[in-house]
Symmetry: C2
Subunit: 313 residues, 2 copies
């Protein structure tokens, strides 16, 4: 079975566990709306690819770990879209969860996805309980305090913010967890795999900033220009668009080079390159260099930074 099928099947199975007679129908539907159809599933793909490179000798646990991370990502999207944050009407080209089901069910759907993500790991942990415990802790660190995605999101509420700390926590942390989880699920040490996730996570956030500035909302699947209009820290705002594109290329190259030599290395490097092309197509760079002024104008005039101590990087 290919990795996409493994991921979709496991996500469906996790949700079905909660879809018993007597379950609240609207919350049940809101959870499905939050998870299906998905985006690129890049975090679980990364987890599966690393597990495969490490032997993948407990695929049930690998699948659970990979999909746990995807559920946590979905939870973060549901809560980030809420009116008090991005107030986004759309996500992946469809109404956001709070637009489709109301704000209360969106809060609860995010909560339920967090809970179900951890339960999924422990349910799959019978063969290797110690691995399952490490996975909960490692993935939990990618979400919780002090450096997980919840902490990262909260930096948007702080009067002083370090851009790199913010980006690393907001997006990078869960990518780092994804590669570490792939190794842990296969019984390998996560240490040599974490750098790949860290680099990719940073690249992904820079790509998100670039896409937020340059893309049409119809292509983005959510409202564009959010970082600037909401006054959030943004690498495109800090470095300019061309600087952000260069930074993205550097981070992707670092990610490719960080893949340890192993049987699965070519697959992983190809995955990283394909994902970078999907995020920021090379054709864009050519087009942007031809139309430098108009595109650059989309992120001007510069808005006063809400974070006076933000450090460009």
């Amino acid at each position: 079975m290919d990795s996409t099928a493994r991921i979709e099947r496991t996500l469906d199975a996790i949700l079905r566990t909660g879809e018993q007679p007597g379950a609240p129908p609207l919350l049940t539907a809101a959870l499905r709306h939050a998870v299906f159809p998905g985006g690129a599933r890049i975090r679980p793909q990364l987890c599966l690819a690393v597990a495969s490179a490490c032997g993948d000798n407990d695929p049930v646990l690998t699948d659970a770990a990979a999909c746990s991370i995807e559920l946590l990502h979905c939870a973060s999207l549901v809560h980030d879209d809420l009116p008090c944050f991005d107030d986004a009407d759309t996500r992946r080209g469809r109404p956001s969860v709070h637009r489709a089901f109301g704000e209360r069910l969106a809060v609860l759907a995010g909560d339920a996805l967090i809970v179900e993500s951890f339960r999924a790991i422990v349910r799959a942990g019978a063969a290797h309980p110690a691995r399952a415990l490490k996975l909960v802790e490692s993935i939990g660190a990618g979400v919780g305090m002090p450096f997980g995605i919840v902490a990262g999101q909260s930096w948007e509420c702080e009067p002083k913010v370090n851009l790199r700390d913010y980006l690393r926590a907001k997006t990078g942390a869960l990518f780092g967890s994804a590669t570490a989880a792939g190794a842990l699920a296969a019984g390998a040490s996560p240490a040599r795999w974490r750098a790949l996730g860290d680099w990719l996570g940073e690249a992904y956030q820079v790509a998100d900033d670039i896409r937020d500035v340059v893309m049409d909302p119809a292509l983005l699947g959510k409202p564009g220009g959010q970082d600037v209009s909401l006054g959030r820290p943004s690498s495109a705002k800090e470095l300019g668009l061309s600087g952000a594109l260069e930074q993205f290329d550097r981070l992707v190259q670092n990610a490719v080079e960080s893949v340890p030599e192993c049987l699965g290395a070519p697959r992983l490097r190809a995955l990283v390159r394909a994902e970078s092309e999907r995020l920021v197509p090379k054709s864009w760079c050519a087009e942007l260099s031809r139309n430098a002024v108009p595109v650059a104008a989309r992120i001007k005039p510069p808005v006063p930074s809400p974070a006076p101590t933000t450090q460009p990087w």
Copy 2:
């Protein structure tokens, strides 16, 4: 060390784990605000009492399990107080988290508390990994889908609701998890202990409905009359105040009788009786019977039920 000291010390230690240099200061403060000073800590007290009755041979795991449940309870309070739910300005006599820190940090604080609750268990699970896995699953079931407190809260968004299912999930589920967790942490079977939590959970929700109707907001520590004004299912509304008081007494008696014979049984029965007196003092019943009409009037005029198929119980 007495149980109250164990609980407060462990809650503090769990929060301190996330309070490292580089942690976002406002979210850090919001988490402390959500957890300290606490209420009666009845769920962790119950967990500790059951663990003690079962031998409590891994007190580190017991403490983590008990406090995991309390953190999940705190998370539910933070999210339930949000403007889209109860829009409560106060909690435990202080500003609610969203009033003190804003809505965004309240959403994130609830999320972080859920994550940290599960991490706390696995960090304490080194000596007994299999027990820790069972605890995450059992406690997760008390929170998640289909019958945990998140599902229970979501019944308030459904057009049709069964009152007993709603109450069991909204409050009872986490009480059931508390007694089961006490047994699991001590390596015992949770089966004979779950009834105690289930009865107490139902009693607690009925008490909450009674208190919502009769108590002064200053004594309640949060706005009163919420169930009626928000049109929520309420046993005081369904059964009338005297009917709800009788129901409460019956449930407490069932809880007391469900305590299995063991060395810790007298302590547990005393805990149940003390808690019931704290929740609904006997002096109230006497006063209510002297002033039946004025007090009953506080829950009239009856508002149209939002749940036409609600079944009284």
